[in-house]
């Protein structure tokens, strides 16, 4: 029984950080292959069916042959280091990239089996179906009421004032803002707190009855309490909408999403159930990113 000191010896082997060569344990899935995504990128009866999507900014290719399904009433989070293409890819889903002249999109992008990039498609109608919430709250410099009523008005969703009132109240309720603002609907929206402004923008997006809501880092300008409220809202909204969220907060992705997609240098590296991604991801790069090993 000569084992007394030997464990102490093995201590010294572990003094270097992560001295244990983990790559020996997980030999596969360490390299990115174009067009290959590890995990489960496809679902049955998807809301979005996206195949071999490429996005170019002039000569440079920002998105490299990405294929992905986004399910109905699913919350999917896009994560990855800055410049990995997650926001670019998100903006393809309601053609927000159209406004950038040098930007071109290739591949098959289908929303409910209809081509998003069909030249005959009405982009305004598309964006009513696929709403968007941005990083910084961007309310119009109008009253709270008018901010929410703006979309329904231009889309002709309400014929009478009372209908419009109903839409505004319903949207503000769904955005968890009604009780805070019901007595001051005429006040200007820019006077609200940041968190309230962001929830107002969500109410504005909801007001036109979209099917999908795209969120591009919706909480990065908010404090933890406002963030918690928006996250709570995402959970509630997922019952009626498909939600795609780009986030730099890994914890946020872990908290709010059903599936998580990891982007890297314009590739979609891994898509998996969020619970799996944050406990035992399939791809080394995903692991390195979520554990904070490179940036």
């Amino acid at each position: 029984m000569n084992t007394m000191n030997s464990t102490v010896t093995s201590n010294t082997e572990t003094t270097g950080a992560h001295a244990v060569p983990v790559q020996d344990e997980r030999p596969a899935e360490t390299i990115i292959q174009e067009g290959v995504t590890v995990g489960s990128p496809y679902v049955e009866d998807p809301k979005f069916k996206l195949r071999d999507v490429e996005v170019f900014y002039g000569e440079s290719r920002a998105i490299k042959k990405i294929s992905l399904d986004i399910g109905r009433n699913e919350v999917i989070a896009f994560i990855g280091p800055s410049g990995c293409g997650k926001s670019t890819f998100l903006r393809c889903l309601n053609r927000m990239n159209d406004s950038i002249d040098i930007c071109s999109v290739k591949g098959e992008l289908m929303l409910d089996d209809q081509n998003i990039y069909d030249p005959k498609r009405d982009v305004v109608e598309l964006r009513a179906r696929v709403g968007m919430v941005f990083q910084k709250p961007n309310p119009f410099p109008k009253s709270i009421y008018d901010n929410v009523a703006y979309g329904p008005r231009i889309h002709g969703l309400a014929n009478r004032k009372s209908d419009l009132d109903d839409i505004v109240e319903d949207s503000l309720r769904k955005a968890g803002l009604w009780n805070e603002v019901k007595d001051r609907l005429d006040a200007t929206a820019t006077g609200m707190s940041g968190g309230q402004q962001q929830r107002l923008c969500i109410a504005r997006a909801i007001a036109v009855s979209p099917e999908v809501i795209l969120m591009d880092e919706p909480c990065s300008a908010l404090d933890p309490i406002a963030t918690a409220k928006v996250e709570e809202l995402i959970a509630e909204m997922s019952e009626s909408y498909t939600i795609v969220i780009v986030t730099h907060s890994m914890q946020q992705a872990a908290r709010v999403s059903n599936r998580t997609a990891y982007f890297h240098l314009g590739h979609l590296v891994e898509v998996n159930e969020t619970d799996k991604v944050f406990t035992s991801p399939d791809h080394e790069l995903t692991e390195s990113y979520i554990t904070g090993r490179f940036g």
Binding site: T7, T14, Q251, S288, I290, T291, F294
Partner: protein, 240 residues
Amino acid sequence: MPNKKDDVYGDHISARFNDELNELKTQFLNMGGMVESQVEQAIQALVESDGQLAEKVRLGDKQVDKMELDLDEEAILVIARRQPTARDLRLVISVIKMVADLERVGDEAKKIAKMAIKLTEEGQAPRGYVEIRHIGSHVLSMLHDALDAFARLDSEQALRIMKQDKQVDEEYQAAARALLTFMMEDTRNISRCMSVMWVLRALERIGDHACNIAEHVIFMAKGEDIRHSPMEDAERVVAR
């Protein structure tokens, strides 16, 4: 952006996070070393009727308990500060659970030491000592290998440890049967044989704890929880 291998497999951006995880691993291995020596000395005290050594082991358990508290605190702080994910998360959670196993091994060592004191006071009871030496050396090597597998994140070694558990169980059963025959031969043997039986039981439990640690090592390395699963599942996971 990483294109070198080192960038992909390298350390955390936060060097202090590395330090904290390292500290956790080192503390765990220190506690493992301490517990190992407790078991070793308890067995030695018993078979050599060394009451003083047994007393030392009995007192040493307090230090094991303190190490458990310190490690748990360290692990809680890492979670609070870093919100670890993936393999880091698996390390922290596994350490929290394995610490409980080590502490129980420490308790078993203390039990053996108490029996050593009792048996020494009552005079020699050579019956069953061969078995105690044999099983003791077996479970000690399992415990040592389990800590080694943890240090090297070696799931294959962990699997080998799990496979030894059945053998220990069989050795324990055989020893228990032998002791039973001694007790039936002469009822005056019963008290001492029962004490020896308790020691054997403690050793068998130490083997179980070593297996628990091995299961956690596989979880840490492979990300799959193979507890309460058939051995074939564990083999499949490790072979991946």
